[in-house]
């Protein structure tokens, strides 16, 4: 029998917090600003896109505390159990002076109106702690989830380059206090389930994966909240009631990545950031796409499981996973089943998931030797933008130059992530030549009737999908050219 406690406990800066009265939809930002009167973190958009509310959340990974930048506006208080929340108010330099990151920002004229500044400071602080001498590319990546409307970013990037000259992480209070902090966090992570409230006001933080499976089977009406990058907006933008809620972002067993000679298995709680090293090593052709999904904070929060489970037609992981033949592992209580990922998406907003059933993991077979694979994301803005379309391609071309197998899938082209079966059919059995490709391009119109919306017109989507097949052909035949932004 799982033991139950009745409080969400975490550390806020240097204070231990225990909350026994939390609403399922209470956001960290509102709690900080309204309940705690910590008003350094700002609300710029309330949808996790501008980064003005950026704070660091530290959690135990093995025996270390890992600090991630997150957007407090769409992070729920109930998801903080067993963490260390660090806000801009906690940054301090020696003898009451500014922290090195703050001093660099001031000296480089990195603030103008100042409203986005605390968020930038926190993102740079997170970067400085793990990479004190970052390249410009690393700085830009760490700031992908922070919008500034005044400075044009140039002085902020200069501050990122200069920050270590003002002090290094070894001298930082968080570093000095990490052993004590670790003790406190371990004490909170006591193996008990947390339960607060009744009915629609109920919050459950399960003790383990098995506990989650049991709890969800018993409460199939509950909303599962993992990284809250989607559910957060249900609350802040649509004012939807989400309770009862089961928070699962803390479950270590859902953060596993298992690799063997033939496949990679990623559990549902692995964030984009956590998956990146394995993805980049195993599927190097997916790395560019991965770095263009959302901004840093959202990549730290959002999970592979959530990206698949919510069935968005514009999720970026399903197209490449589908063409690689990924299998989805679903679980309800102790009952597990496995389906092809592409069969999971039934229709817009409808997936093959039963009440009480959840996505436990996804298995992606490795690309067999000799096969060709690529994926492409197209968006209005290169980074931190939702795809207008996202396409993945895979072919096997025989020594004789014939297409033995072709798999193509797109997001943004239909109501679900979807294979281009007519295009595939037009390729298979033909010679892998530009003539074959050009002939097959017309078949896209059979597979997809995309819509026009604020991201792109139907014409653009169709034409670009066709051109991406051309690109794939050119790249597999040594004639490729791809846009690159060259920074140090």
């Amino acid at each position: 029998m799982t033991e139950v406690s009745g409080a969400i406990r975490f550390i806020l800066n240097d204070e231990e917090i225990s909350l026994s009265d939390v609403k399922p939809d209470a956001t960290l930002l509102d709690w900080l600003r309204l309940e705690r009167r910590l008003r350094g973190s700002k609300e710029g958009c309330a949808e996790g896109d501008c980064g003005a509310c950026t704070v660091l959340v530290g959690r135990l990974m093995g025996d270390e505390i890992i600090y991630d930048s997150v957007t407090a506006c769409i992070r729920f208080v109930g998801s903080l159990h067993g963490t260390h929340v660090v806000t801009v108010e906690h940054l301090r330099g020696k003898e009451g002076h500014l922290h090195p990151v703050q001093q660099a920002m001031v000296d480089e004229h990195g603030s103008q109106c100042g409203f986005c500044t605390p968020g930038f400071v926190m993102s740079l602080y997170g970067l400085w702690m793990r990479d004190p001498d970052p390249s410009q590319a690393a700085i830009e990546k760490a700031l992908q989830g922070n919008l500034c409307r005044c400075t044009g970013y140039a002085p902020i990037i200069r501050a990122g380059k200069a920050m270590s000259s003002y002090g290094r992480p070894e001298g930082d209070p968080l570093w000095a206090e990490r052993i004590a902090l670790k003790g406190k966090i371990k004490a909170i992570n006591d193996g008990k389930r947390v339960e607060i409230g009744e009915g629609a006001a109920r919050i459950i933080v399960p003790a383990s994966l098995d506990d989650f499976a049991a709890v969800y089977e018993a409460h199939p009406d509950a909303t599962i909240v993992n990284g809250s990058t989607d559910v957060g907006l249900w609350v802040t933008k649509f004012m939807r009631a989400i309770g009862p809620v089961i928070f699962i972002g803390h479950l270590q067993e859902l953060k596993r990545i298992a690799e063997n000679d033939s496949e990679v298995r990623i559990y549902a709680g692995v964030s984009y950031s956590e998956a990146l090293p394995v993805i980049a090593a195993t599927f190097p052709d997916m790395a560019e796409l991965w770095n263009r999904i959302a901004g840093e904070q959202i990549r730290n929060m959002g999970t592979i499981g959530g990206n698949i489970a919510n069935g968005s037609p514009i999720g970026d992981t399903p197209p490449p996973f589908i063409v690689l033949g990924a299998k989805l592992h679903l679980r309800r209580g102790e009952h597990r089943r496995e389906i092809k990922l592409e069969d999971y998406f039934l229709a817009y907003g409808k997936q093959d998931r039963q009440p009480g059933e959840f996505v436990e993991s996804v298995t992606i077979p490795l690309l067999p030797a000799g096969e060709k694979f690529a994926c492409y994301k197209i968006s209005k803005r290169r980074e931190e933008d939702i795809s207008a379309l996202c396409g993945a391609f895979r072919v096997f071309v025989s020594d004789a130059g014939m297409v033995g197998m072709a798999r193509i899938a797109f997001g943004g082209m239909a109501a679900t992530p979807k294979r281009a079966k007519a295009v595939e059919a037009a390729l298979v059995g033909k010679a892998w030549t530009i003539e074959t490709v050009e002939a097959a391009m017309a078949a896209f119109a059979e597979d997809y009737q995309p819509i026009s919306d604020m991201r792109a017109s139907a014409e653009y989507r169709l034409l670009t999908a066709q051109n991406l097949l051309r690109r794939f052909f050119l790249e597999t035949t040594g004639q490729g050219q791809r846009l690159k932004r060259e920074v140090a």
Partner: protein, 775 residues
Amino acid sequence: MNKHEAPISLASLHTSTRHDSGPKHVTGTAEYIDDMIEPAGTMHAYLALSTRAHAEIVAIDYAAVRSAPGVIGVLTAEDIPGENDVSPSHKHDEPIFAIGKVHFWGQPLFAVIAETRDLARRAAHLAKVEYRDLPYATDIRAAQAAGGQLVTEPLKLERGDIEAGLSAAPRRVKGSFEIGGQDHFYLEGQISMAVPGEDEDVTIFASTQHPSEVQLMVAAVLGIRQHAVTINVRRMGGGFGGKETQGNLFAAVAALAAKKWNRTCKIRPDRDDDMTATGKRHDFVVDYDVGYDDTGKIHAVDAVYAARAGFSSDLSGPVTDRALFHADNAYWYPAVRVRSEPLYTNTVSNTAFRGFGGPQGMLAAERWIEDIAYALGKDPLEIRKANFYGTHTDNVTPYHQTVEDNIVHRVVDELEASSDYQARRAAIIKYNAGSPILKKGIALTPVKFGISFTATWYNQAGALVHVYKDGSIHLSHGGTEMGQGLHIKVAQVLADAFGVGLDSVKIMATSTGKVPNTSATAASSGSDLNGMAAWDAAEQIKTRLLAHAARLYNADAGDCHWVQGGMQVGRKFVPFAELVASAYLNRVQLSAAGFYETPKIHWDRATGRGRPFYYFAYGASASEVTIDTLTGEYVVDRVDILHDVGKSLNPAIDIGQIEGGFIQGMGWLTTEELVWDDKGQLRTKAPSTYKIPLASDVPPIFNVKLAEWSINAEPTIGRSKAVGEPPLMLAMSVVEALSMAVASVADYRVAPRLDTPVTPERVLMGCERMKGARG
């Protein structure tokens, strides 16, 4: 030295002093209105917005709103004791709450007042509104087709014989150019907090660029006199023009509720509602007919500038005027006729945005320059140079002002050399010939921007300076701080004038109680106007102190001199604090109100003649891009900028304005796309759908330099020039560089005519057109 001749002298001015709020920004202790401690009992207001583009309001049932948890009341038009209007043009066409009809999707209907913001926001959605739909036109072409109703009087500028000029020109080009709008996306959204006082008094903390206008509006709405209303602005989290008039409504609603319930009231819309319910940069369609010759010299320009004004006049008159004032950019048109069409549309009323119509006017000029260049097979830069204003001849604008301070030639020549433009252009043409999919482009474009409010009476400012007995100084002026560094610049002026350190000058929040009847902090005018007013106040106090010193030390006034740190009286040095302390004991007034009015300017709109601008600011930029002809995606690889700020008051602040203005302009022209659906609802209303530039959109090579040799020909404060708006237009070179890359698909023989914003989709479709033209 005459009254307007400021010193170019001492220690504080012309140095890269850091923003006064920098340490507070980085620690999160800089206070914005939503960070202030609310008085006990503070109420929260939230607006309910229409969900029709154009409709009669048949009935509104508030029952569910009133009975929702935490609701204190509903505020409707009937609760307004004065006027239900916040029209800054005073045309009475902008109600706070719609009555009878709604004119756009997102128009405020009423406000809910509740115990918390969350409860007010939830309740605002509960009203049952019955509409009877009316026909609507949301864009420019639809508005023209529906009869072309205007929201305000159009303007025509004309010089020379346009008909003769066009018909005599050896070559003609006609075209139509769509220029998109832009949301301000200030990081701090609209917000006001109103605190009721005794009698009719109300004090409002507002995020506004124009406190005096908020004061006037609130007084009119409450039906009271202006002296009962005090507006305070410590800082804004960004403005960019979006808080010149758009804060009026929020302040008025907060004030109405505060007075009705006698409790403090705060109002802050969600980002989506802010973007839906507040005005943006005007989008334009420019229809043009240009006559030119084989050398590329323009003979005549005839153009109509149609703008989506939205449902009310707001600032659309002056914005479209300024578009016409910049229809020339830096080019002389021997004959010209330009006309504006500020069109009524069923969309939110568009408003001020950095550049104020000027960018759209200039962009169109660059469009026909490009048309000419591609038609003649020449480098567009050659055409630009061929048409620059002369320095002594060919220097009269379409509004009959003579350009007296032209430095465009030197700015462009220096940038052309420092950016290695010619060699890079040659290399790019070579690269493109051998690159089937990726194509590059480069362009160098100039900026000439007129400085002064075209409403001449706005070109005045006040300041209030107190010197305390310990020598510390209290500075208030009429300008507002939105991040641009105005406060630090004016503080530098004051410290410089008194010869004291900046730490002696305390910058106060802007308040209508300190300096009355101020102009908006807009039109790039902040430091020109307020710097001079503060300097004037300092001069008054200094004059009194000097007379006092002469008396006290029994010296000739001619032997008393201001030096850094105090006054030299003969051989005796008197520290500033000591001088001030003795002045107090001798009953010398240590406070002064300063004032400034810009000289020389005048403008007669009826005849289209005058000198609306005191001077011009110049600049130039060279951008290089790479496009992907399969997807239309692109990268801005390198940008070089040379910009004229006269003798800079603060080079670091000015560089910040240039870098920031350029990137903001680049966003406007590339990824920032406003999309309304067929029902008239804005669909790009949050950062998830509306894409401003990121750190990773900044060009990897970004060289920004001040034209350090430049000194304002007019005696402005420190001989500096305004810097707020002009750099935004430097981003035009990105459009032209993209255009060149697209043109390469058809061997540079056809002008691609890319409309803006030049999204990846527009680039790809441009490439497709080029392929078609290539055959």
